[in-house]
């Protein structure tokens, strides 16, 4: 059970790290807007590629 003397302080250190990371995220504005980023993943394609889409459709045909 001596391992506890290592594991428990390690847990405390990990929590401290998690809290630090969270503080950084809050300060960085990560929690300011919780709606937009969900769409960002869909939208961030700057150049829609109709060309590519058309190619894919053609491939499926045969």
């Amino acid at each position: 059970m001596e391992i506890l003397f290592f594991m428990i302080p390690l847990g405390v250190v990990l929590v401290a790290f998690a809290i630090w990371a969270f503080f950084w995220a809050v300060g960085n504005g990560q929690f300011d807007d919780l709606d937009t980023p969900a769409y960002q993943i869909l939208l961030d394609d700057d150049q829609p590629q109709p060309q590519k889409k058309a190619n894919e459709e053609r491939k499926e045909e045969p």
Binding site: L4, F22, G27, D35, T36, L43
Partner: protein, 819 residues
């Protein structure tokens, strides 16, 4: 269904004969006007078509693209920029803008991408939740006016945000609260974990050294929770004590401190028991409740900001007969300002030249424009619909009627909901009570059996469940509010649900509440050879050429006719040629003058009639009126079914109100009511013991909404009515109101059940624990189950029962529904 006939961009119906279209995603899409065409091509041309794929609703119809570019130039003056542009290091600047029509994430994305394409724009942050954008740019490469002009061109009109102080204060508060919450959460989880070890140790035996370790680690985790996360409670307690009163923070702070210090003492002296777990959990649950409240408060405050959007960003100052564009911030009392037809009045003032009619629907909720002449006062935010005027500024910026009301509202919103205060109060007393009982139990058992003293004290502390008490109210409130928001009723004030449950009388405003609040053709009376339908189509073809608010009454009417050579006579009407026939539409005098025919007789009584005629005589009279919302009748019936008394209080004429009341089956109504009259009526009802729900729309309803026990405003109405109201109906429908009353009643019942449950649970288990029947592990299970019961019970509120949902049956159609 109607995809062909609505504009791809803004969703408005496409006028007949309009052939514009824009190619998007490879196929042509119809658009309704030059403005929409310009925006849609701009979006498509920049490869941003994705916007259309992911937006949540139709976009705003942009203003006429030919709108003079000089409107935004005023923002390049350094004096104007002082208020909203910040100097950053490295020569960059940051502009804070409030953006109109910013409704969804796709809008934010579109703005972001369009602005970033401009040279010199470094970073764009758009927050759709608060409707704000922060733009970092290099002033050497790009002008502020260019940024704003580009936004306006997309259909999102920007407004400078005065220093953005309010926003950053709210943001700081939210950040601090989040950090405190998370520290408490992590601390609670860790301490609980160690507590499990300690409890196990209490039965099965634990080496002294491990117990020591666990206790010290618990102490290490609990200390930041107490001194960082719980800091607001200490601050509150200190403030209360300085003011020599005992608020809810005092017992909370006291309870936490005693439990913490006792645990520290026990740790140091290797005593019996530590209570770090109870302390951290208590702090965490209280903070969750506070955080939810704060979020609701901020949401309400964001609505107030929209008020500033009513005032235009720039004005035309007249100096020695010459007009000059200045920003509204530069206006001073005594300046003379020109307001052209179609522009919004920038400041409160008195008309010194000209006369016109003003659309004050933003302020009063009355949809028909009001005539104002020389010497009359006009209010900032109202729209000049007829003729150019000049006015002498009497109040500017912070002192306008609009801003003053806005500030009053801000103050009113700072208060906390009463139910939450009561819950805190109960929880605070409860903690002290439990600590006293635990001390008494320990004191009783210690001389008799130290072994039992330990077990019973622990059991008492564990089994007592402040979480169930602390959670009882907030969980139910949150579940109910979020459910209602989903259904279209936004709760702005915390007290709203509690009061709504007790409501006995409902008082409705008429215009914009029971009715749609915009003018439509209500009746056509043909006088000549043509039938009503034909007359309507001719009228609609003519009105397509007008920007006048009355023309909006005709936009829904489809017509194949095309009018040519249309001439607008301000204050009278329109003249044009359709199929070679010269027609006039407008006031009876104006129309009759074309043919020299005698004036047609029209009924009076608050309604507004317009005439259509040609060179041979008057063809038809048309009555413009406000249509009743399609779901009004059903909602009123349901409310009556819930046992509520209904009443109308309107500023409109007696005839109009009584006709509507009769049609809707409401027996009590009062017409020609000023806001003060309405307030008096509500006071009367309240004096007779009634609890009044006021449903209204418009700024002149603001005092009435505030005076009622609980109030709801139509979301389609003015921003101000929304903020002074306790609740806001988000859509164009009254239906959520019914659900609101039902849910509110259920919420108070559930809160009562929860508190009852928590109290009776504690009342039975604490004595059992005190006499040693309950062992700590049973107590731990009991406590968790007790919390779960409370949460699950509250969750019943967010469950939707199908039978309760009754969406408005039909969409408001076009002419066919005109009665």
């Amino acid at each position: 269904m109607s995809e062909v006939s609505t504009c791809f961009h803004c969703g408005d119906p496409i006028p007949a004969g309009e052939t514009r279209s824009v190619v998007i995603d490879g196929s042509p899409r119809p658009v309704c006007c030059a403005g929409c065409e310009a925006v849609a091509s701009l979006i498509a041309g920049s490869g941003l078509e994705n916007f259309y794929r992911y937006r949540t609703g139709p976009s705003a119809r942009p203003q006429d693209p030919s709108d003079g570019p000089d409107e935004w130039d005023a923002f390049d003056r350094p004096r104007v920029q002082q208020s909203f542009v910040r100097e950053l290091s490295g020569g960059q600047r940051e502009a804070a803008l409030l953006i109109e029509n910013l409704s969804c994430a796709a809008c934010a994305w579109l703005i972001d991408h369009c602005l970033r394409r401009l040279p010199g724009v470094a970073e764009v942050t758009v927050n759709p939740a608060s409707g704000r954008a922060l733009i970092r740019f290099d002033p050497a490469q790009v002008q502020v006016s260019t940024l704003m002009r580009n936004l306006a061109r997309l259909g999102y009109r920007p407004h400078p945000v005065g220093a953005g102080q309010a926003e950053s204060a709210a943001q700081r508060e939210r950040h601090a609260a989040l950090k405190r919450l998370v520290v408490a959460g992590f601390g609670m989880m860790q301490v609980m974990m160690f507590a499990v070890g300690l409890y196990f140790g209490a039965f099965t035996g634990i080496d002294e050294v491990y117990q020591e370790l666990l206790r010290w680690v618990s102490w290490a985790m609990a200390t930041p929770v107490l001194f960082y996360s719980a800091w607001p409670f200490y601050k509150g307690a200190l403030r209360d004590l300085q003011a020599r009163r005992v608020g809810m923070d005092v017992p909370v702070a006291l309870g936490m401190t005693i439990a913490y210090l006792a645990s520290c003492w026990q740790t140091l002296t290797r005593g019996h028991e530590v209570y770090f777990d109870s302390v951290t959990m208590f702090v965490f649950f209280l903070l969750v409740g506070r955080y939810v409240e704060m979020a609701a408060r901020h949401k309400a405050a964001a609505a107030t900001d929209v008020l500033t959007a009513l005032i235009p960003p720039t004005a035309r100052r007249v100096i020695d007969g010459a007009e000059e564009r200045v920003a509204v911030e530069e206006l001073e009392i005594g300046d003379v300002v020109a307001v052209r037809a179609g522009e919004t009045v920038p400041a409160d003032g008195r008309i010194v030249w000209g006369q016109s009619r003003f659309d004050e629907s933003m302020l009063t909720g009355e949809s028909l424009p009001q005539a104002r002449g020389l010497g009359d006062t006009v209010v900032a935010g109202s729209l000049n619909v007829a003729n150019p005027i000049q006015l002498r500024v009497e109040q500017t910026g912070q002192n306008t009627v609009l801003s003053t009301i806005g500030r009053l509202l801000d103050r009113a919103q700072a208060e906390r909901p009463r139910l939450a205060r009561v819950a805190d109060w109960i929880a605070g007393r409860f903690v002290i009570g439990v600590l006293l009982i635990a001390a008494a139990v320990a004191a009783y058992w210690l001389p008799r059996s130290p072994e039992m003293a330990l077990l019973t004290t622990v059991a008492v502390l564990v089994v007592s469940c402040p979480c169930a008490l602390g959670l009882a109210t907030p969980v139910a409130l949150v579940a109910a509010t979020s459910r209602l928001t989903r259904e279209g009723l936004l709760t702005v004030r915390g007290d709203a649900l509690e009061n709504l449950a007790k409501v006995t009388h409902v008082v409705f405003d008429k215009t914009g509440t029971l009715t749609e609040g915009r003018i439509a053709v209500d009746e056509v009376r043909p006088l000549g050879a043509l039938d009503a339908d034909r007359c309507l189509r001719l009228a609609a073809a003519l009105e397509r050429h007008s920007e006048h608010p009355i023309a909006k009454a005709f936009t829904e009417i489809e017509t194949d006719d095309r009018a040519e050579d249309v001439v607008v006579t301000a204050g009278a009407g329109l003249e044009g040629i359709i199929d070679g026939r010269r027609l006039r539409i407008g006031t009876a005098e104006f129309v009759a003058a074309l043919s020299g025919a005698p004036l047609p007789a029209a009924d009076q009584g608050g309604d507004s009639w317009i005439a259509l005629g040609d060179e041979r005589g008057v063809l038809a009279l048309m009555r413009l009126a406000d249509r009743v919302r399609p779901d009004t009748k059903a909602v009123l019936d349901e409310l009556r079914g819930l046992g509520l008394h209904l009443e109308i209080a309107s500023g409109d004429s007696h005839e109009a109100v009584s006709a509507l009341a009769q049609r809707l089956g409401i027996r009590r109504f009062s017409a020609r009511m000023t806001p003060a009259d309405k307030l008096t009526r509500i006071r009367e009802l309240q004096a007779a013991g009634a609890v009044v729900l006021m449903v209204g729309d418009g700024i002149n309803d603001a005092p009435v909404l505030a005076g009622a026990d609980v109030s709801a405003a139509m979301g389609s109405g003015t921003a101000l009515a929304q903020t002074s109201a306790a609740m806001v109906l988000l859509g164009e429908s009254l239906t959520p109101l019914v659900q609101g009353v039902r849910t509110a009643r259920m919420t108070t019942r559930i809160i009562r059940e929860n508190i009852g449950w928590a109290l009776s649970y504690n009342a039975t288990t604490i004595p059992l624990a005190a006499i040693g029947v309950l062992t700590p592990w049973m107590a731990a299970i009991g406590m968790s189950v007790s919390s779960l019961v409370v949460v699950i019970n509250a969750m019943r509120l967010s469950r939707r029962r199908r039978t309760e949902v009754c969406p408005p049956a039909a969409l408001p159609g076009a002419v066919s529904e005109v009665s």
